[in-house]
Symmetry: C3
């Protein structure tokens, strides 16, 4: 993007009235649609500024705290990158040896790490029924700390994946779709198939498929969810997707047939997950420390998976899509047949064709996170971005 194009995206951003300032970003379905538009537009501007070598350093110091309660590589680096481009210092909270059991302690820890902190990014996706709850507690704690005069500023809590949603992923995916089809408007009526896919592993989180069906239904897309019997998502979020579709003029279909989902799809998103019932069982066993029963559960689930080895995104399935050319999406890493496993979610030829596209999809995440920080920390994000463009301070020294 040249400066004029960046300027015009900022102008569009300013047409959206957002209420993210001094707030958090936890679940997309709690966000008014203007906030979602604003995040996409701000992310696009930040990406443009980065590529144009314009510094986006809006802070001269301050902390960006991350708390990864589950493994992470790409989100970790996206968060670190977002912090760095805004001028914040990343600091990771390693809880491995601490006790965060009672509400009281969550409140205290949240305040103790926040005295010089602008944002707290949290990944907490292992225990069903708990991840979002924990993030909301942290958000309430820093809100209270700010109101009580303890915290000089009110850090934003950003969901880097919970048991319900994965908004930095789904918003990056939406930005990818927007760029691919030319505009958000052009997504109306486009069919996206969010389907389960076979994997030789088990226990993959539900947050991605849930995030996708809940978000894409808000933009008038025709969303089809497909999975084998017994691989259910959380029912409340299925309801959310249905309501969103009704409101936006899109549609939401639910099927147990992968081919039906792929038929005439403009976009396919085949990905493995465990059912929420399994996740509930697993959560109970993890809490009980019953590793023997956990092994049994894993065996049972893997055996279940084996019955659905044909849920693989093969060239055959791709041929069913619109003109055989649907956009293939994945949050990565994908289980690629013959590459990262003997049999997996996607055929090697399909994946390789779309590989650079999936990498670009992933790239947006850094900028989406940076946009969320900007929108939650500044009352007038459009003017902030304008000022950065005016200043034109080079990010990388210019001769």
């Amino acid at each position: 993007m040249n400066n004029e194009q960046i300027r015009s995206v900022i102008e569009r951003l300013e047409t959206h009235k957002t209420d993210l300032y001094q707030k958090d970003f936890l679940l997309t379905w709690e966000q008014p649609i203007d906030n979602l538009h604003a995040v996409l537009l701000a992310a696009d501007v930040l990406e443009g500024l980065w590529e144009a070598n314009v510094s986006t350093r809006v802070f001269e110091g301050g902390l960006a705290v991350s708390n990864f309660r589950d493994k992470s590589t790409r989100t970790r680096f996206s968060f670190a990158g977002a912090a760095s481009m805004l001028g914040l210092s990343a600091a990771d909270l390693d809880e491995t040896k601490s006790q965060v059991a009672h509400g009281e302690t969550v409140r205290e820890t949240a305040n103790m790490i926040s005295f010089l902190t602008e944002v707290i990014g949290i990944r907490d996706d292992i225990f069903l029924g708990e991840g979002h709850k924990y993030q909301a507690q942290v958000a309430a704690a820093v809100e209270q700390g700010y109101r009580e005069g303890v915290l000089p500023q009110r850090p934003a809590v950003i969901n880097l994946q919970c048991d319900q949603d994965h908004p930095t992923q789904s918003m990056a995916d939406l930005l990818h779709l927007q760029k691919n089809f030319g505009s958000l408007e052009s997504l109306r009526g486009k069919k996206i198939a969010m389907t389960w896919a076979y994997s030789p592993s088990y226990g993959k989180p539900l947050s991605v498929p849930q995030g996708i069906i809940a978000l894409m239904t808000r933009f008038g897309m025709k969303v089809t969810l497909a999975h084998p019997q017994g691989y259910d998502l959380i029912p409340e979020i299925i309801d959310v997707a249905g309501r969103n579709a009704a409101e936006s003029g899109g549609s939401f279909e639910h099927t147990y047939d992968m081919a039906e989902a792929f038929r005439d799809a403009d976009v396919v998103y085949p990905k493995s997950w465990a059912s929420y019932q399994v996740m509930e069982e697993r959560t109970a066993l993890l809490h009980g420390g019953q590793s023997g029963k956990l092994d049994e559960l894993e065996k049972r689930c893997l055996a279940d998976n084996e019955r659905y080895r044909d849920w693989e995104c093969t060239e055959k399935f791709m041929e069913l899509t619109r003109s055989g050319k649907a956009l293939y999406m994945h949050c990565l890493p994908a289980d690629i047949t013959g590459v990262s496993c003997a049999a997996g979610e996607v055929a090697a030829t399909v994946f390789e064709r779309y590989r650079p596209a999936t990498y670009n999809e992933a790239k947006h995440k850094s900028f989406v996170i940076a946009a969320m920080i900007l929108l939650t920390r500044f009352a007038e994000p459009g003017r902030v971005l304008d000022k950065l463009l005016d200043q034109a301070q080079p990010r990388r020294l210019l001769l």
Copy 2:
């Protein structure tokens, strides 16, 4: 604070002749009183500048190395925050797999991590008789490295808790008292009760009570130390407190009666610890790798603790204090009865009443650490702070 108020604190700072430049901050009782005044005043200014959105970035790069030989959450984030607000990059030295056994090796490691380093913060509180010694060795090593021309700059070593003292905590506590009572002068003659309190755990460090009795006696306070028989602090530090009180015109009392300590106290600081005799025994067993005997020691100590369950800071005890309204202090996290444990150091109603106050107490730590860095790294800290105020570079982008 507005700019004029900040300016007047800087002026007061300039009235104190300090000798911290090119030195370390290890034990408060080794510091001339002017250094202590200067740290408090500089911390206050830095807190004011942060709240006024004035950048305090005195470095454009350079490292702030931390070495945590024991768990830490709040000090870790305080140190990271202080580094970030001054423009340094935090880098943590994880020794888990290295051998730091011989004096030679300490010297070498100290130099190897210091080529681009302005400050080294160390927590080493597990082994009695060793923590301070190690910190002093590191300080001597970088001093030598600087004199030999190996190090381009002489990093300051800052004690983030050792076996003897916890100066970033006690100085933050002192700043809290000063703000609470209006001035350092008004602390003269005020009674502070540093008392042991019951906890269902054992082995908590001695550095906080030792740091408090040694520091508050220097400012004319009436310090009463109370604990059950057998929960002694290091005798040499008891002596330090006595001498300090004699010199400052304050007083230092030592009792085995919690009620006596609380009676008419203006400030109470009830907190669990293990006796130095236990810590000595534990150190020997840890070195000997005798985990069986360590378990025995723990059992014995926990049984001892049980005899003093009534050493809890209840509403009843609080009623004994001046007008029943003493300031309750804690370095956090506190063991709160019915909240974080069945029975602990403090009643839930007492803690909740003072909770925001204890959070504010904790907040000062970031700024105290930043002040220590500033004073040890700059010969004229007052002029540095003046310049920051003059420049008025926003920390967070201003429109």
Copy 3:
């Protein structure tokens, strides 16, 4: 160095035509000699600017990713320091719980951590035949990602030690030699003894001796490699050293006699290592997870070592060198007899005499790494350094 001296080093840098821009730094023997000159000169300038308190912040944010597949203290801090002085945020990739098994996955991970990344530093020295291969794969992956438009910039991959070479060490060593003898030119004809030395440990990497013989032979030095029978380096790299010597007009000798190597040497570099045959065996056992056989191998090697306890750099051996005053070098930490072990690589009196010199040798590493980043990320590094000197932005606030 004063500004004029710095300016003249920059001028010399500009006489060298380099091709490092948009490339990597993996093995010195793959680099044209101009690149090596340029790294040395740029490192010298950066060291001068640091000491003159001139900011070298050429980036306003962006990541410097490190990936340490083996323990590291000094290289870790050198890399963190280099990142900080250039304005990058260090971010460490901890693979402990990830699977990086297939080429495909290396490619993906390399891209996922690189969206906002300027440099990736990798240490991978444990498995013979693999470290360099992995680094080259990462380099190819980010090159492809950049060409495909996935990465906004092309991060440089820098070898922080592999199975073959340790270029940040050997280049720091070369800078040390240059400073010690006055110029690179004056190294011509000087004799350097790279010798094995006894250590009570086993399995030390080959990368340092290999890096030294391959690099110093390029600058006309008379390089003698000495070790007991059976402690061979990788044969291909022995060949490289021979060819280099022939081309540069230096020489390369290979002996099994430590005294012969020390005789009339201007520089000695006595250091323990395991033979490449042992490293090959060890690699196979590590891959097979055969810890029993690994223990056996260790025992056998330690027993072998015992036969060569007299390979210690004693005062006696030092007397054999030119006027008894050869420069002693070591990459540190050294096994010092009577200090860090009962019997080791070097006598305590020898080491202590050269200790500050070895520390200075180590200091250069930060600046060598920073120079490699500068040269790989900027097409006109000389003009960049000139601009930094012109701007004269203080690194540490000036009054």
